[in-house]
């Protein structure tokens, strides 16, 4: 095992916490990978905000129906028991608290649960999509992310410096090094890779990591 988890491994770890029968929205891009690691024997129903419940994998190349796409505009298939609906009904599901979990990517997460994942600042074309809706309403909003940025800066901070997506919305962060809960405005370390010390992890984290009960080893298979 390398010194940090791959994206697929982070996604695998997040997938283990999805209960049987859960309604789940996966953010565009990296979070979509979580669907692949659904534990055997559990059934999750995936929601895509453009208007499908219970969609499945991508079709074979050449078999795409381009009206049958997900929020990332990728072609998908349907599972038995799927349903179509318009955008207002779709975001009623989101905003109305009907999703069990939303798993999103992040630029930054703050210890009070603030999330920044839609804008890296004033330059370029801003685009928000459904991110600001998804952070509200799901019973559980989790983030999957590298623990630090490409140039080694912390992404878990005492306060976000980038434009916010939502205030106090994230409750769990799965990173390439650890699993961290957000509880009462604090980062609480739950799991970490055995190879890294708490001190070394703290040095890569922009806010204090609190301990509350045991910190267990973050163990993820090669996937």
């Amino acid at each position: 095992m390398s010194d940090k988890l791959s994206n697929a491994q982070i996604a695998w770890r997040a997938a283990q916490d999805i209960e049987d029968g859960a309604y789940v929205n996966l953010g565009i891009g990296f979070p979509e990978m979580v669907a692949k690691f659904q534990p055997p024997g559990r059934e999750a129903i995936f929601h895509t905000e453009n208007g499908i419940l219970n969609f499945g994998e991508a079709p074979a190349a050449g078999q795409e129906d381009w009206d049958l796409i997900n929020a990332g505009k990728k072609a998908v298939t349907l599972k038995p028991g799927a349903a179509f609906f318009h955008h207002a009904d779709s975001f009623a599901m989101v905003r109305g608290g009907h999703l069990d979990v939303a798993i999103l990517g992040a630029y930054q997460v703050a210890e009070n649960g603030d999330l920044a994942n839609w804008s890296t600042g004033p330059k370029g074309v801003p685009a928000v999509g459904g991110a600001m809706d998804l952070v509200h309403g799901a019973k559980r909003v989790a983030v999957i992310t590298e623990h630090v940025t490409k140039d080694g800066k912390p992404k878990l901070l005492d306060r976000c410096t980038l434009p916010l997506t939502g205030v106090a919305c994230v409750t769990r962060v799965y990173t390439s090094l650890a699993v961290i809960d957000i509880d009462a405005g604090r980062f609480v370390l739950r799991e970490k890779l055995a190879a890294i010390s708490i001190e070394a992890l703290q040095a890569l984290t922009g806010a204090k990591l609190h301990l509350q009960g045991a910190v267990t080893d973050l163990i993820v298979p090669e996937v």
């Binding site: 179509f84 109305g96 999703l99």
Partner: protein, 240 residues
């Protein structure tokens, strides 16, 4: 995933005292008579649930369904738009005797408040009731030169719903104007309990034809030949 509940008694077993219960239907169309009667059976056997707040467009008719629920003494408060019907004697007597509280809401506002509850919209503005007795005490705001009343969402602990087909994942279709408040109440309740004429396997309802997606449904029970309030009342039925 299988949201099927084996029988009516089990379907209504979790509804507690003082719960807010939305009941689908407009008059007798789309009214979940069997679920309501199962709830009355439970009350007769156990004394619970009581002190319910019920949300329905009407106030029951004759001595069956919602009227029988009121007659049994289980309802503390009714939130509705039109507590009149061909034979509203049960509600009328209870109301005039001061035994039941009434919150009167314009019908479109009632529907929109329920939808808002399901959609995570805590408040909205409507022109309906502006300047009338039903707007007293509510905030008013002017938008683009016209006055509107602020209305709040309406949510429930449980909804009792009548649908036509349901698949095991809770996807539903309805019959004709029996649709009425049912899809909205599924959205607005923590636990939506649905009686359907037939439970089918997941995949047996065309995804294009689903009116209520299963995410809004927590349990469903099959009632093969559901009773119709209008016909029961014409036959003088009494649920007692």
């Amino acid at each position: 995933m299988n949201k099927t509940i084996p029988d009516l008694a089990t379907a209504v077993s979790a509804i507690g005292d003082a719960a807010v219960v939305m009941i689908g239907g407009f008059g007798g169309s789309g009214a979940p008579i069997e679920l309501i009667h199962a709830l009355i059976d439970r009350f007769r056997a156990t004394g619970h649930p009581k002190g319910l707040t019920v949300v329905n467009n009407n106030a029951g008719n004759g001595h069956i369904g919602l009227a029988a629920l009121i007659e049994a003494g289980m309802v503390k408060k009714l939130i509705c738009s039109f507590p009149r019907s061909a034979d509203p004697v049960v509600f009328t007597q209870a109301y005039l005797a001061g035994e039941i509280e009434l919150e009167l809401v314009p019908q479109g506002t009632l529907a929109e408040r329920i939808r808002a509850g399901g959609a995570g919209i805590p408040a909205f503005y409507t022109p309906s009731s502006f300047g009338t007795d039903l707007a007293v005490g509510k905030p008013v705001e002017v938008f683009e030169g016209r006055s509107y009343v602020q209305e709040r969402w309406l949510k429930a602990d449980f909804a009792l719903i009548k649908a036509d087909l349901g698949d095991t994942m809770g996807n539903l279709t309805y019959r004709a104007a029996g649709r009425n408040f049912n899809p909205l109440m599924c959205m607005a309740a923590k636990v939506a309990i649905v009686q359907v004429s037939r439970i089918v396997a997941a995949g047996q309802i065309d995804p294009e034809a689903v009116i209520t997606p299963g995410i809004f449904v927590q349990g469903l029970v099959e009632v093969r030949e559901p009773q119709q309030e209008e016909l029961l009342n014409r036959s003088g039925a009494v649920y007692a």
